[in-house]
Every structure is written in C-alpha cells, then in structure tokens.
C-alpha cells in the first residue's frame, strides 16, 4: 500500500468515528436521563392520585 499521506487518512478515519462515538454517548446519557425523569414523574403522579383518594 502507498503510505503517502497516511497520517491524514488516519486523522480522517479517527475524526469520523469519534463524531459517531460522541453522538452514541450523548444518546446513552439522554436515554438514562429520560428513564429517570419518567420514573420521577410517575412517582409524583402516583402521590397526587394517592392524596386525591384521601
């Protein structure tokens, strides 16, 4: 294989996968936050319902 400009080719590949990886991390964090938020909202809604009964 011709090794000319190999370093910049490596930078290109690295940049491409780093951007995708960064997005996957953002997605994972957002997913965890949404799950926690859903549990909190469900708990609060449950407390409201419980208070209404009494």
């Amino acid at each position: 294989m011709d090794a000319r400009n190999f370093t910049f080719m490596f930078y290109g590949f690295l940049a491409a996968w780093l951007i995708v990886l960064l997005y996957v991390i953002v997605l994972a964090r957002r997913g965890a936050r949404l799950k926690k938020e859903l549990e909190d909202v469900k708990r609060i809604a449950g407390e409201h319902e419980h208070a209404d009964r009494h």
Partner: protein, 229 residues
C-alpha cells in the same frame, strides 16, 4: 422488537465495516496521485449520502405529519434529522481533512462546501427550535415547515457539483455519470461502506425514536399531574 432490530443493524454494520476495511487496505489498488488519503472517500461520501437519504425520509414524515397531525411522524422526522446531521458533520470534517492534503487548504467557499455548511446550519437550527418550543403542536408544525425548507438546500448540495464547476470534484459514481470515472472495485467498497453507514444510522434512529416516545410520555404525565393539581 425495535431494540432487536437496532442491535441487529449495529452488528451487521460492524461485520460489514470489518470486511470493508480489509478490502479497503488489502485488496484495493492505490490511487496514483493521492496516495493513501483517497480512502477517506469511503467514509466522506457515504456519510453525505446517508445524511441526504435521512433528510428526505424526514421530509416524507414531515409531510405526513402535516397531513395527518399524528405525532409519531413528527418524532420520526426529528430522530431522522438529528442522526442525519451527525453524518453531515462527519462528511464535512472528513472532507476538510482530505482538502488540507489535496487542495492545501482546510476550507474554501466553494458551492458544494458552502451549501453543505448551510444545510448543517439549517438542521442544527431545526433541533434548537424544537428545544425552544414547549407547545407540541406548534413545535411539530414549525419543525415540519423547516424540514421542507431545509430539503430544498439538500437538493442544491446534491446537484451543486453538476450545476457549478468549482473546487470540489464533479460526480464520479456510475449511477450519476453512466460509468467510466471510478474503478469498479472501488465502487463495490463504496457501496458496502454506504450500506454499513446506513445500518448504523438505522440503529441510531430506532434508539432516538424510542427516546422521543419516552419524552412524549413524560410530557403527557406532567400535563395530567398539572391538571390534577
């Protein structure tokens, strides 16, 4: 089911990418003038194409939302725009690194590059606008309108290398030129790269759509809690 498809797509993409990396480095001939760096093409252009496909599918869902007012279509459009934007950024960053070697500059205000940057800015604006509007119907309606507007620029990005002769090279793939501009072995690797990136995008869109559904559920529970209070 959705999770199984997302995992299946990601695994298939990983397998394809591994095979394709082998072909890229061990099988393909070198490019006479550029050396190793021409291999950026196999991520640069497929990422752009996947982005464009994503924007147009988002356009379809935006139109479907406007005609049906079904929020599922709005969620799908928003997920597609976000994932497509990631691949548009991959396209422009890898292009810039390639340009540094081939043109001697990181950036130029060429028709293709400028329209691609405008496309990124429009769809980035789309995502910011969605965060800024709380009322779901208004958010979905304005998002659909902006998506339709943004897709006009996507057409300009796609056709700019045919309409204007500038710094960026013209089309080389057989389906655009009719053949003779690119080695068939390179086109096979290009096609496999496109397929692998498309599968990654599908997997990400499925995960993102699930998150949109969760956000809608949280929103409706909050409204219920407010009404009850």
């Amino acid at each position: 089911m959705r999770e199984k498809v997302a995992i299946g797509s990601a695994v298939a993409a990983a397998g394809l990418l591994t095979y394709n990396l082998y072909r890229m480095f061990m099988v393909l001939p070198d490019e006479a003038l550029q050396g190793a760096i021409y291999r950026i093409l196999f991520f640069h252009a497929p990422a752009a194409l996947v982005g464009m496909v994503g924007y147009f599918v988002a356009l379809t869902f935006s139109i479907l939302y406007l005609s049906s007012k079904n929020f599922l279509y709005d969620s799908l459009a928003a997920s597609l725009v976000e994932v497509s934007l990631v691949f548009s950024v991959v396209n422009i960053v890898t292009g810039s690194i390639w340009a540094r070697i081939i043109w001697g500059i990181w950036w130029t205000w060429d028709y293709r590059l400028t329209s691609a940057l405008v496309c990124i800015l429009i769809f980035f604006g789309y995502l910011i606008m969605r965060r800024a509007i709380d009322e779901p119907t208004q958010r979905a309606r304005l998002s659909a309108a902006l998506c339709i507007f943004g897709c006009v620029d996507v057409v300009i990005v796609y056709k700019s290398i045919e309409w204007f002769r500038n710094q960026h090279p013209g089309p080389v793939l057989d389906f655009r030129t009719g053949g003779g501009h690119m080695d068939p072995a390179m086109q096979t690797v290009f096609g496999l790269s496109f397929l692998a990136i498309l599968l990654i995008a599908l997997s990400l869109v499925l995960i993102r759509t699930r998150q949109e559904a969760l956000a809608r559920e949280i929103d409706s529970l909050r409204r219920l809690a407010h009404t009850a209070a």
